[in-house]
Amino acid sequence: MSESSTILSVRALSIGYGQKTLLEGLDFEIRRGEFVGILGSNGSGKTTLVRTIIGSLRAQGGKVEFGEGKGCRKAYVPQRDSLDDGFLFSAREVVEMGFYARCRPGAPLSREDREEIVAAMQRTGCASFASSSYRELSGGQKQRVLVARALVARPEILILDEPTSGVDAAAAKAIGDLLLELNQKDGVTILMVNHDLESMRRLSRRILWIENQKLLDGPTDSLLSKDRLESLLSLTFEREENA
């Protein structure tokens, strides 16, 4: 399979909840190895879009296709606050869940599986708190655990919903660096919802911007240029010399 083949194809997609349609007629493709960011204001439909793409929400119309119809391994990193704190999982048990994509229901983990879990936790920097209760971890630690969980699913495409929201700047940078490494060294395609323009500028090469029920698709440099941002956000930027 060539590096530039299409891994995700979205055709005439309509999304929404119940009778309410948020976006319709969405068309875009993502190629293998791309790092694509999804931006947009609150309530614009970013999370609904990724939930529809992963199959958690039913599309109101249109089609989502992975791996040119042949499917592919995918993993999803949700907003960490969407997980229920009532469950008493350790960080390690949360990471283990990534394996359920590959093993038969009810099958126990093998020694190799356990070693892979340890390796994923070491790579994401969460091995030191593997036995800690997941619900008692900090925001940044939880996010690392969720990325480790996604890693053990061995995804060809990784879809993330605001992985750096509510974490401090250092933790956000560390998570960004890890995603860049996955993208550049391992060739994992990344589709990430984020609010942070600076980190989007640093990480992604392409942006899907949802605004006023429309999807703008373009290279990061062009879509996040100052002129374009001014018109998109209707903001007035102060000149650098006044800063």
Partner: protein, 291 residues
């Protein structure tokens, strides 16, 4: 110490009741753990009552045809089992479906079902006194006259469901904890959730059929709540809930025997007492730990 002396006498007549109590104490907390973790405790109160309404419905059906004597023996038990199973499954799958479609408020819906099930049961049986007596004793958790066949049937059904839940617990954890991640890695989330609901519904029906709604709810929820005050892991939760369940069931039976009390309420009260004790002791230990 009459109980322990009588227990090993040949003439001890309550072996079936004791085994049934221990079975419920051992098996019900695992089903209840999923109700508690999925924040469906209120459903855990309502479902046994809805299931027992199914028994009432089945036992009173003959009255509608003008037969005031009703079915007897095996026919009656078969009808009762069918009623318990059908009502429990319809209720749990219906409520889960409405929840999925985000229609109305879940707690008001379940509350309405609960009160209508109880009122409906009493109305249905009011014209059929023999069935009403049997149903009321089941409702109160009076399980003295239980047959060996019933113990065996409920043991096999609950045991198989318990094993299924234990074997596939990690898959059930995933779809309950993070359905979006589960969907993204290709799990059939709706199918797994439906299977979980069917297992819980059937376990409630099987338990209600032999011990009634009071003991069913008591042993599904109270041991789990007690375990939650002392454990910090999922494995610990399942193990402690089971241990608390079986210990409370035994102590409840013992007290009921010694003090000539109804077995069901006695077991549930002991489980409730254990919860209060664990909560108070947990609070004291946490305070001392902080100091």
């Amino acid at each position: 110490m009459h109980f322990f002396q009588d227990l090993f006498n040949e003439g001890f007549l309550l072996w079936n009741s004791l085994i049934l109590c221990l079975l419920v104490g051992l098996l019900c907390p695992l089903f209840g753990a999923f109700l508690v973790l999925k924040r469906m405790v209120f459903m855990g109160v309502a479902l046994p009552h809805i299931s027992s309404a199914g028994i009432a419905f089945a036992l009173s059906m003959h009255v509608w045809y003008g037969d005031y004597e009703g079915a007897h023996g095996a026919d009656q038990r078969g009808l009762a089992i069918a009623g318990a199973v059908v009502f429990a499954l319809l209720a749990i799958l219906g409520v889960a479906w409405l929840e999925k479609r985000r229609r109305g408020q879940a707690d008001s819906r379940i509350g309405t079902l609960y009160v209508l099930a109880t009122a409906g049961s009493l109305l249905l049986l009011s014209k059929c006194q023999p069935a009403e007596r049997g149903w009321l004793s089941l409702f109160k958790g009076d399980i003295i006259a239980v047959s060996g066949g019933d113990v065996l049937l409920s043991g096999v059904v609950l045991g198989v469901l318990w094993l299924l839940l234990l074997i596939f617990r990690k898959d059930f954890y995933l779809v309950s904890y993070d359905p979006e991640m589960a969907a993204s890695i290709g799990k059939k989330v709706v199918l797994w959730e439906m299977l979980l609901h069917v297992i819980i519904g059937l376990s409630i029906a099987a338990s209600v059929f032999v011990v009634g709604p009071l003991i069913t709810f008591g042993f599904m929820v109270l041991p789990v709540m007690t375990a939650l005050t002392v454990v910090r892991s999922m494995g610990g939760l399942l193990l402690c809930s089971t241990v608390f369940g079986i210990v409370c069931a035994f102590v409840g039976f013992w007290l009921a025997y010694e003090q000539d009390l109804p077995i069901g309420p006695s077991g549930v009260s002991v489980a409730g007492g254990a919860l209060v004790l664990a909560a108070v002791m947990g609070g004291v230990v946490r305070r001392l730990w902080k100091k």
